[in-house]
C-alpha cells in the first residue's frame, strides 16, 4: 500500500495518481488535516507487539502494510469546528501532532521526500548551504545576518549589485494587503534604512549573472533539470516566481554528469529522497547553487519543460525496495 499525505486539492497528486493506478499498486490518499475529527488513529500495544491503525473514514489501514509514503502537502491536524476555545484547539493540534509523528516513525516504509523533522532541517537554508559547500557546489558569497553594520560593506563588496532574500518563505500584510518579499535587488535606497535589519535576519548575496536559471528535480537517484530563461522578462528576471509565461522560456537542460551526481548526493546527505534544487548557470558556464527545497514544485518542470517527473515519482513509490531503517538514504 502506498500512502499519500496531502491536501485533497493537490494537483501534483492528481498528476501522479493515474501513473500509480496504471502500475497496479493500491493507494490511499489521506490528508492529516482530517485528523482527529474525521479520521481515527489507534496505536495498540499488546503481547510484545504493536499495531497502528488509521481509519480515514473511507477505509482502515494497518500502517505496517504501507510500503511507501509520499508526504506532499499535508495540512496540520485540525480540530472539529465546534471545538471553539483557542486553548482547546491548540491542545487538540498539539496532542494529535504528537501521536501522528510517532505513528509515522513506526511506519516501516520508504518516505518521499522524508518525515517532517528531517524536512524541517533540510529546508533550513543555512544548513543546506553548508552541506552544498561540503559536496563541492559553488555558492555565492553569502551573509545571513541581522547586523545593520554588515549591509553597506556587503553592498560595496558586491560592487553595488546585490540581492536580498528571506531566510524562510513567509506571508504578511502591509496596510491590510497581502505582500511578499521576492528576491530584492538592493539599491542605495535600501542602505538608508539599514536599522530595520535589526528586526529580522536576511540573506545578502552578490547578484549572480545568469545565462539561465535551473530547477533540478531529484527523485531517488534520477535527475531532471529544467531551464528557466527569464532574460526576456522584466517582470520575472530577478525572481521567476513573478511568473510571466509569455516571456519566460522553459526547456529541458542536460546537466554535466558530475553536477547531476552532486545533486543526488546532496539530496541524500540531507536525508531526502526528493529535492528541488535551484541553480544558476552563469554566462561563464559555472553551476552555482542557490538552495534546495525538500518539497519544491515540479509540476511546471513536467508541463513546461516536458520532463517526466510524475513517472519518476510513481516509479519510486511503487518500487518494491527494502526498508532502510536509518532513513531515506
Amino acid at each position: 500500500m502506498i500512502l499519500i499525505l496531502s491536501d485533497r486539492r493537490d494537483d501534483a497528486v492528481e498528476m501522479v495518481l493515474p501513473k500509480l493506478r496504471s502500475r497496479g499498486v493500491p493507494v490511499t490518499w489521506w490528508d492529516p488535516g482530517d485528523y482527529p475529527w474525521r479520521a481515527r488513529l489507534t496505536a495498540a500495544f499488546a503481547n510484545g507487539r504493536h499495531i497502528v491503525t488509521l481509519d480515514t473514514g473511507d477505509s482502515r489501514l494497518d500502517l505496517s502494510t504501507v510500503t511507501a509514503v509520499w508526504r506532499r502537502r499535508p495540512n496540520p491536524p485540525t480540530p472539529a469546528e465546534h471545538v471553539t476555545d483557542p486553548t482547546h484547539r491548540a491542545h487538540v493540534v498539539w496532542q494529535a501532532e504528537f501521536l501522528l509523528d510517532g505513528a509515522w516513525e513506526l511506519t516501516p516504509a520508504r518516505w518521499l521526500p522524508c518525515r517532517r523533522e528531517v524536512e524541517r532541517h533540510a529546508h533550513n537554508k543555512i544548513i543546506h548551504m553548508a552541506r552544498a559547500v561540503e559536496h563541492g557546489f559553488t555558492v555565492p558569497e553569502t551573509l545571513y545576518t541581522n547586523d545593520p553594520a554588515e549591509l553597506a560593506p556587503a553592498y560595496e563588496r558586491a560592487g553595488g549589485r546585490m540581492i536580498a532574500k528571506q531566510i524562510n518563505s513567509d506571508e504578511f500584510t502591509l496596510d491590510g494587503a497581502d505582500h511578499r518579499t521576492y528576491t530584492t535587488v538592493v539599491t542605495r535606497r535600501h542602505l538608508t534604512s539599514r536599522h530595520r535589519l535589526r528586526h529580522e535576519p536576511v540573506i545578502l548575496q552578490p547578484y549572480v549573472a545568469k545565462a539561465v536559471e535551473l530547477r533540478v528535480i531529484v527523485v531517488g537517484d534520477r535527475v531532471f533539470a529544467a531551464e528557466i530563461d527569464t532574460s526576456a522578462s522584466s517582470t520575472a528576471r530577478d525572481d521567476w516566481r513573478h511568473y510571466d509565461d509569455d516571456r519566460v522560456r522553459h526547456g529541458p537542460h542536460e546537466l554535466p554528469r558530475e553536477v547531476a551526481d552532486r545533486c543526488v548526493r546532496l539530496t541524500a546527505a540531507l536525508g531526502l529522497t526528493y529535492g528541488a534544487i535551484d541553480l544558476i548557470l552563469t554566462p561563464g558556464g559555472e553551476y552555482v547553487f542557490l538552495e534546495i527545497n525538500p518539497n519544491g514544485a515540479w509540476g511546471f518542470v513536467e508541463l513546461r519543460a516536458g520532463l517526466p517527473v510524475s513517472d519518476a515519482i510513481a516509479d519510486w513509490l511503487a518500487a518494491a525496495e527494502p526498508y532502510h531503517p536509518e532513513g531515506a538514504s
Partner: protein, 328 residues
C-alpha cells in the same frame, strides 16, 4: 550649532514626520513646501521616491550648502517595520488578474489585448475566458504540426498588419519578445485553438440535439422605427415602410438563435405571424418569421452548435472560477 546645522536638524525632523504612503504624498509636499518657505536660503526641494508594487514611498530633501554644493538628506525613522517587509511588494505586483491558478501578468495581458476579438463579451470577460482556456491546455504537451503553427502565425501576423519579416521583428522589439519567445507564444495560441476545436467538436452533437430549434434557418423581416408599426401580416408591415419618416428594415436568413431577441422569444411563432410593435432601445420593433427550415445534422449546423456549446461551457467555467482583479 550653526544656522545651517540647525536647519539640517529641522530638515531631519521634517523628513521623519512625513507620511510614507502614496496616497499621502500631496500632504507631504504641502508640509515640505511650508518648511521650504521658512528656509529660503537653503533652496529646499523634496524628492519623492515612489516605489512600484507597494504603497510605501521614500523622501529625500535636497538643500544648498552655504559654501556651495548640495546636501541630500534621507531620514527613515525607527517605526519597527522589518527591512524586507518595508521593501516588500504586493503579492500580485506585475499581475493583472488571477483566474483560479492562472496568474496573468500585465505584459501578457497587454499582448492579449491586441488579440481580443469578440464583440459579444466585454474585454474583462474575454481576458478571463482566455485564462480559463490557458488552464485547460496547461497539461497539453501533444505535438503540433508545422501546418497548424504556420496557420496560427500567419493569422496572428495578418491580424496585426505585420507584413514581412522586418515588420514582425519590429513588433517583437516593441513588445519585448525574442523570436524564440514568439515561437512559444504562437505554440500557446495554437494549443488553445486546438483545445477549442476539440471541445466544440466533442460538445456539438449533444448540444444540437438539446437545442435543435435554435439552429433552424429562419428567413425573417423586421422593422425598427421611432414610430409604432402595427400590421396583421408581413405584407402589411412592408406596405407601411414607405410611409415611415425613419426606419431600419431588415430581411435576412439567420439561425433562429441569432435573430433579434424579440423574434427569438417568439421562436415558436409560425411563419407569417407578426410580432410587435415592442419597445426596442428607444424605438419600436415589429417583425415576422417568413420561413423556417428545420436544422439538420449537416457539418455547418454542427459547427454552429459546437461554437454555441463551447460558449456555454466557458460561461459555466467562468461562473465557477475564482477571479481576482488585482488593481480594480
Amino acid at each position: 550649532m550653526s544656522g545651517f546645522g540647525t536647519a539640517v536638524e529641522s530638515g531631519v525632523r521634517l523628513l521623519r514626520s512625513l507620511p510614507r504612503r502614496r496616497a499621502d504624498v500631496e500632504e507631504a509636499r504641502g508640509t515640505a513646501a511650508a518648511w521650504a518657505a521658512a528656509h529660503p536660503q537653503l533652496e529646499p526641494q523634496l524628492v519623492v521616491d515612489v516605489r512600484p508594487g507597494t504603497p510605501v514611498v521614500d523622501y529625500d530633501l535636497l538643500l544648498t550648502h552655504p559654501d556651495g554644493g548640495t546636501v541630500a538628506l534621507s531620514a527613515p525613522d525607527e517605526d519597527g517595520v522589518p527591512w524586507l517587509i518595508d521593501h516588500s511588494t504586493h503579492w500580485a505586483a506585475g499581475q493583472l488578474v488571477s483566474v483560479d491558478d492562472v496568474h496573468l501578468s500585465v505584459a501578457q495581458a497587454l499582448t492579449m489585448l491586441r488579440s481580443l476579438s469578440r464583440r459579444d463579451v466585454t474585454p474583462y470577460e474575454e481576458i478571463v475566458d482566455q485564462c480559463l482556456i490557458i488552464a485547460e491546455v496547461q497539461g497539453d504537451d501533444a505535438p503540433l504540426d508545422d501546418a497548424e503553427l504556420q496557420t496560427v502565425a500567419d493569422e496572428f501576423r495578418r491580424g496585426r498588419g505585420l507584413i514581412g519579416r522586418a515588420a514582425t521583428l519590429a513588433w517583437l522589439a516593441d513588445v519585448g519578445m525574442s523570436p524564440s519567445m514568439f515561437e512559444s507564444y504562437i505554440v500557446g495560441i495554437a494549443r488553445r485553438r486546438r483545445f477549442r476545436q476539440r471541445k466544440e467538436s466533442e460538445l456539438a452533437s449533444a448540444y444540437l440535439a438539446a437545442h435543435r430549434a435554435d439552429f433552424d434557418r429562419v428567413r425573417a423581416l423586421w422593422v425598427v422605427s421611432p414610430e409604432k408599426c402595427t400590421a396583421a401580416t408581413p405584407q402589411e408591415l412592408l406596405a407601411l415602410v414607405p410611409g415611415l419618416r425613419e426606419a431600419e428594415v431588415t430581411i435576412d436568413v439567420r439561425r433562429a438563435r441569432d435573430l433579434p431577441a424579440e423574434l427569438v422569444d417568439e421562436a415558436g411563432t409560425s411563419a407569417g405571424t407578426v410580432v410587435g410593435p415592442l419597445p426596442h432601445g428607444g424605438a419600436f420593433f415589429t417583425g415576422a418569421v417568413l420561413e423556417r427550415e428545420p436544422a439538420g445534422d449537416d457539418p455547418e449546423t454542427l459547427t454552429a452548435a459546437g461554437r454555441a456549446a463551447f460558449d456555454e461551457w466557458l460561461a459555466e467555467r467562468r461562473r465557477r472560477a475564482t477571479i481576482q482583479w488585482h488593481w480594480s
